[in-house]
Amino acid sequence: MDRFVFLTVNGVALGAIYASVAIALVIIFRTTRVLNFAQGAMAVASAYGGMAVIEYSGSYWLGFTTALVLGGALGAAARLTVFRSADRQGHLNPIVIGIGLLIVIESALAIAFGPTERHLSTAFSRDLLHLGGTALLSRQDLFTLLAVGVVMSLLAWTLTRTRIGLQMRATAFNPVVARLHGIKVGHILTLGWVIAGVVGALAAMLVVPTGLGLFPQAMDLVFVLGFTSAVIGGLDSLSGAMIGGVATGLALSYASGYLGSELTYVAAFVLLLGVLLLKPAGLFAGTTARSV
């Protein structure tokens, strides 16, 4: 029982991280219908920026802020350069472009910072807090949960309750009609990329310290799991991304704890299949589209 509680809490803490990656993907997908394969690499690049600032200034929060700003800037830069025309070219070309960008960014980081893992500190202590005898979560875990929760609610509110949010959704589904209604489609798309860049950078700042440290490929597998989470939740839903992330985290934690660590990806796959077989468009898919 104790172990179950332990694995559950561990899974939730992990899940919050996958959720943040999932949210970044969902944001871009919701606003541009692009699956950004370079999302992880862009996030890592932002984290390197943050790390450099932390090392130079000694202030974690300065570095943290830098990373988020850099993430936004990279998002804008990606959209305004290589992804500029990608909006109009179906869903496959952007995937290949994203892969190209992923390779370029990771190589550039290896050139600039070297391929070895670099240390990235956390905002708060990772020592587990003792609550009534059992140690479950650390301050950093709480920060992660809080940060992801706040980001999710903020974004959900923006998308569903504000004018900009409506414009973002309209642009995603039908850019031509959006333009006819006075929406500056280019700006909206860029905004989507900026937000995703910021959320991605946040994800990297949260996830990297829990792993081996910062290295160019640090987010490759996290990206796969984040994508899995997003798909489980339904790619259009922010709360779905959150739930999907936590579900993935739990599946991984249980599989790893009860079955063996090598089965973690298999567990993620099985979870994904299970969900998709029941709900082919994810847990939080809207009503199925009327086809005739």
Partner: protein, 349 residues
């Protein structure tokens, strides 16, 4: 019409086979060895072309199906006597086993895939691709874990052994298989069956109203595509790596295959070949160019080590931006215009 098309590409295949044979006989061992890899990738890319281009289903997990081909071929070859060479007969059976096993796995994957659309399918297949390592480590007594399964070497059959080096033999077998796969898949694409695949891609409701079972067509396509990937995996494992190990069938392989298919031009078998050659050769060519820039090793070694890969990334982006329709489509569009241009220029003279 159709018959002309079929006869024409039958002849084309024969001509290609002749060219390939000449090429192999002319080439050094190193080049022949690389042809094996090209052949393996072409098989998988052709299968992926059918799946994505003709049937409209995306797969980011084809490397896993190639792994199935490689491992099953390995298990078959290892079931014989341990250290002896594998005969030509065994080799052919192994390729067939790889292809058939992948097809069987393809039934299961295809059945799931048939329920999924677009990005959901992409997510599921991506996750499938991430499972290879886990499965091979979990069943390490059978699949050899991280190290994989080594395979017996294959011998050149006696009547040919005087004339061919083992590389020439392997390259001939691989490229021959690839041509066969291309021939069969092209036949399929231009057959009523291929038309049904395209119909399902274009309009599922209308396809149903024509009496098609959308799921069945999608599963069938997945199976054929998996069989091609399995053949490619078996070639890669048996003839190229001589080992089946998880490190060779990573997500990146799946993604490279996708890049090859898209760069070549979706839906065209010729595009699959062009794309594969670009991803493999042109990528390597740039890498060599960059590697020979003469960067001094002491200070710039990080640069030297990673610049080639960066250049490859740039290549992918540039090709996609310059020819968004893929190379094959662009050739198709440019060629008539070039002809026209030549005619007008000729006419003026």
């Amino acid at each position: 019409m159709l018959q002309i098309k079929l006869v024409r590409h039958g002849l084309l295949t024969l001509a290609a086979a002749a060219v390939v044979a000449l090429l192999v006989l002319q080439s050094e061992d190193v080049s022949n060895f690389e042809y094996i890899q090209v052949a393996a990738y072409v098989c998988a890319a052709a299968g992926l072309t059918l799946l994505i281009g003709v049937n409209g289903q995306l797969s980011l997990g084809h490397a896993a199906l190639m792994a199935v081909g490689a491992y099953s071929a390995a298990l078959y070859l290892r079931s014989g006597s341990e250290d002896s060479l594998a005969s030509a007969g065994d080799l052919f059976v192994a390729l067939l086993v790889g292809s058939v096993t992948a097809a069987v796995v393809g039934i299961a994957v295809g059945a799931v895939a048939a329920r999924l659309r677009g990005p959901y399918l992409a997510g599921a297949t991506l996750a499938l691709g991430a499972c290879v390592v886990g499965v091979t480590t979990y069943f390490d007594h059978l699949l050899g874990g991280d190290q994989g399964l080594t395979m017996p070497l294959t011998e050149v059959p006696a009547p040919l052994s005087a004339a061919l080096t083992s590389y020439q033999w392997s390259a001939l077998v691989s490229l021959g298989t690839a041509l066969l796969v291309l021939f069969l898949l092209t036949n399929l694409k231009y057959s009523p069956v291929g038309r049904e695949m395209a119909a399902v891609r274009d309009h599922e409701v209308a396809a149903q109203l024509c009496g098609l079972s959308v799921a069945r067509v999608q599963i069938n396509t997945f199976v054929v595509s998996s069989a091609a990937a399995g053949a490619g995996g078996a070639i890669l494992g048996v003839l190229y790596l001589q080992i089946a190990s998880p490190g060779a069938f990573t997500l990146f392989l799946s993604i490279y295959l996708l890049a090859a298919v898209v760069i070549g031009g979706l839906g065209s078998m010729r595009g699959a070949v062009i794309g594969t050659v670009i991803v493999l050769y042109f990528g390597r060519l740039i890498e060599d160019r960059v590697a020979h820039l003469g960067l001094s090793t002491a200070q710039t070694d990080r640069l030297a080590a990673h610049l080639p890969l960066a250049a490859f990334g740039v290549l992918l982006i540039v090709v996609m931006l310059a020819v968004p329709g893929g190379i094959q489509g662009t050739l198709g569009r440019i060629a008539p215009r070039l002809l026209q241009l030549m005619e007008t220029v000729g006419g003026k003279k």
